[in-house]
Symmetry: C2
Subunit: 490 residues, 2 copies
């Protein structure tokens, strides 16, 4: 099979689009800005869902489902929320079509106009807090730890598959607490769950930190995030966790009687990750041959391909392949045996490289004679022969190695492209090549806006962990407490 992808070095953006469509992950639909998530891409999303859902449940959260449609007036109840969310959205104004008088198709029935327009949820704080009002009376009803898996619509003007689409899939946690401290603890707990998931499962190292005021969620007191570096040196926000204070409780009048018998507003958090994570996964690890999937998130972990010249060989080889498949399935691996005779082995090799299957096993008559099995790992493209004995253990160990190697490689890449910088003129040049820049900032939105305006770089986060002492803002020279991360971002 000829190279099917534009190379990363030639055109990064085209490489990404090629990869997403040719690896059968997703494609643009006939509806502007909305994607079709194809079975292989959706299988990755299902893995993300299963693993995160288990983590949420282990920490005491339950799933529920709230309406897709939100009355327009709900958005005006929280002042900063409406500014951030109610503008670019899909608005339902009518509830009936009728036959067109000219006999061609259907038209909107103007008599079926809604009294109040409904907005397709761009996020669910408003509808959920309007519901929580009836669920919470006393501290005994708290905490309320609820998550929702749902689709979201935000009317994006410039869209890219997975990274920014008008409709996307996500989970949104919405919790209610009796105290500020407990809500802050929850905000951090979920941020750490996201970080653990990104690093241990997706193999993506992340920087944990807090957003500046101008980058925070519309309606939050504080927004925390995990930021990942993509292979072009740009940043991608991979998950956010918001401490909402009492903002939504006040907007929707949600009060509770505390242990002292006094009425108080409820404290809130919300947190979410979306199908954007699939974009992050692609852009963090893949190469010019295609996708590179960490074993823990790969829908298929091992693919087995029989190699044979005639029917007699086929039958022997196929038996061996089936035996291997069973062995590996017995240690809980997901294995595909591709015995199609419509494609040649070489075509299959390229196909599964494109799709990022972590391990490829090829079995031919010679391997059976020699009592060894040929294994190719996707991350390094190395091949080696593995003895038949302890085969499953060896494969499991190799998968662990691959998982770790993918993470290490991404971490090394990030370290190589992270720079401490103190001179704004140098910064303006350096930012052109991508990367994370640790710089002192005077803490004002004016300086932040100037930098964004002049360089397209934003403050990705104020990192939670850093050893830096105080310094001076690279732009204004004013005192600064700590370096923050600047980067261009998706």
């Amino acid at each position: 099979m000829a190279k099917v992808l534009t190379s990363k070095e030639e055109n990064y953006s085209q490489w990404y689009n090629d990869l997403v469509t040719k690896a059968d992950l997703a494609e643009n639909s006939s509806v502007r800005g909305c994607m079709v998530i194809k079975p292989y891409g959706y299988a990755i999303w299902e893995k993300i869902q299963n693993i995160l859902d288990t983590m949420f449940k282990k920490t005491g959260h339950s799933n529920a489902y709230f309406p897709l449609l939100i009355p327009k007036s709900f958005f005006s109840k929280e002042a900063s929320h409406v500014e951030g969310f109610a503008k670019e959205c899909a608005i339902v104004t009518h509830y009936r079509l009728k036959n067109s008088p000219d006999g061609k198709g259907v038209i909107v029935d103007e008599t079926a106009k809604l009294e109040e327009e409904l907005i397709i949820r761009p996020t669910s704080e408003t509808i959920i807090w309007s519901t929580y009002k009836n669920w919470i009376q006393s501290y005994r009803d708290l905490p309320l730890l609820i998550n929702q898996w749902a689709n979201i619509v935000r009317w994006e003007m410039r869209t890219r598959l997975f990274l920014r689409t008008s409709e996307f899939l996500w989970q949104e946690g919405h919790t209610a607490h009796a105290t500020k401290e407990e809500a802050i603890e929850e905000t951090n707990k979920m941020l750490n769950i996201y970080a653990e998931f990104a690093e241990k499962t997706l193999g993506i190292p992340v920087i944990i930190g807090k957003k500046s005021d101008s980058e925070k969620f519309a309606g939050a007191i504080d927004t925390y995030c995990i930021e990942a570096m993509m292979l072009d040196g740009k940043a991608l926000q991979a998950g956010t966790s918001h401490f909402l204070g009492q903002n939504f409780a006040k907007a929707f009048d949600v009060k509770f009687t505390n242990k002292e018998g006094k009425l108080d507003y409820v404290w809130a958090t919300s947190w979410g990750v979306s199908t954007r994570l699939i974009g992050a996964l692609i852009m963090a690890h893949s190469d010019n041959n295609g996708l590179v999937l960490p074993p823990k998130i790969a829908p298929i972990q091992v693919v087995i391909i029989p190699i044979y010249k005639n029917e007699q060989e086929h039958s022997i080889v196929l038996n061996k392949c089936k035996e291997i498949k069973e062995k590996l399935e017995n240690v809980a691996l997901t294995v595909k045996l591709d015995d199609r005779d419509t494609q040649k082995p070489g075509w299959k090799f390229a196909e599964y490289e494109l799709k990022g299957i972590p391990i490829r096993i090829a079995v031919g008559p010679k391997d059976i004679e020699n009592g060894t099995i040929e294994i190719a790992r996707r991350d390094t493209l190395e091949k080696k022969l593995i003895p038949n004995d302890n085969f499953s253990e060896n494969v499991l160990k190799l998968l662990d190695d691959i998982q770790q190697n993918i993470y290490n490689k991404a971490l090394k890449f990030r370290e190589q492209h992270t720079y401490k910088i103190d001179n704004y003129t140098e910064f303006k040049t350096a930012i052109e090549n991508g990367g994370f820049f640790e710089a002192f900032w005077d803490g004002t939105p004016e300086t932040e806006a100037k930098i964004k305006d002049e360089t397209k770089a934003t403050i990705r986060c104020i990192p939670q962990y850093s050893n830096d002492k105080e310094g001076f803002c690279m732009v204004t020279g004013k005192p600064s407490k700590k370096r923050v991360i600047f980067a261009r971002a998706y």
Copy 2:
């Protein structure tokens, strides 16, 4: 705890509403016709999803995701489909709000009007077949076996929690095949999966059959269904599987090259079940104490309640409860230990009866002394003492008994309320008390319409299995091949 439900005999409809809200399954939202599915109700939906999803995958289906929004013109492409679906739907006409000039809230920005209106999917045949056009060229691309878990909006005028809501959750399978025979086989296969799931998991006996032409899916050649009887004798359609012929392939011009090298239109099926199944589950088994859940679908299968008078007893009893919990979890049961000291045991007993937990275990100091454990089963409300030895095995066996008993009871109820009837005058009286009526019908839509008009009963299905010989239509006396099922329905 006082009885919280209106009794079924007093007011069946109120009993249902009481049960849904008081067992914390769902509630009406502030958006007309849309419900909030609460954590306990959603946990039942998650069980339904998990079990069905496994059945779908075992039969070769993959999940994918298609856009929520469908261009209006798509609906006009299949003539009968537009009549059935494009009328009562949510229509997106604008994509931006702006601040109101009077400073109060937000209004629709009239300059942000869509060129073509978008419809929130009432079902996805059109958007999916417009996509399949690009996926299918040759018989090698077939069959395409895809399922989608999604939310759906149909603008319902009269809504009821779970049974009929403007937004609901469902799965919709959409498959594409090279031959008519294969598509019909798929239609039947999925119908049988639904029947097996309803009977074996939900404990609901169903009648498998075909819809009459006037009741079939808009756009189908044939619609097959499973019909269940509710406790008021009304019918509920619990799942449908449609043989779509080449209708959607023709509407969206989806052709393929067959093995003979000739171009032909692709054959299609679609099939779905929804959150309606939760309504069926409630109405098939519950009683005046609340929900009765078959063990296989119960989010919590066993609840353990400690009984004690003082702290010393509490500590001994709690240890025993934890030991029992661990034992049962080791045999893969889902167990809840309710050690809250804010509620009395009697309150808890009533609460878990209301929520339909199949088995309740109460542990007091006396039980520990005697080496026995008190078990109450929800379906019969019987209590018995079980010895400590082989405890887990006994509980597993009891759960099997409960599962079987719930099904048997529902089957017996249906049999007792199913009548062969040959006289239309008698039918008109008898239908008032509910039940399924097996009657001869002349096969004309006119007779069907007359019966519906005069009795509100519809043909639920033309049963797949029946021993009946030919007879004469109960209304017109014309010859009839087979008895069909008439009933009033949800």
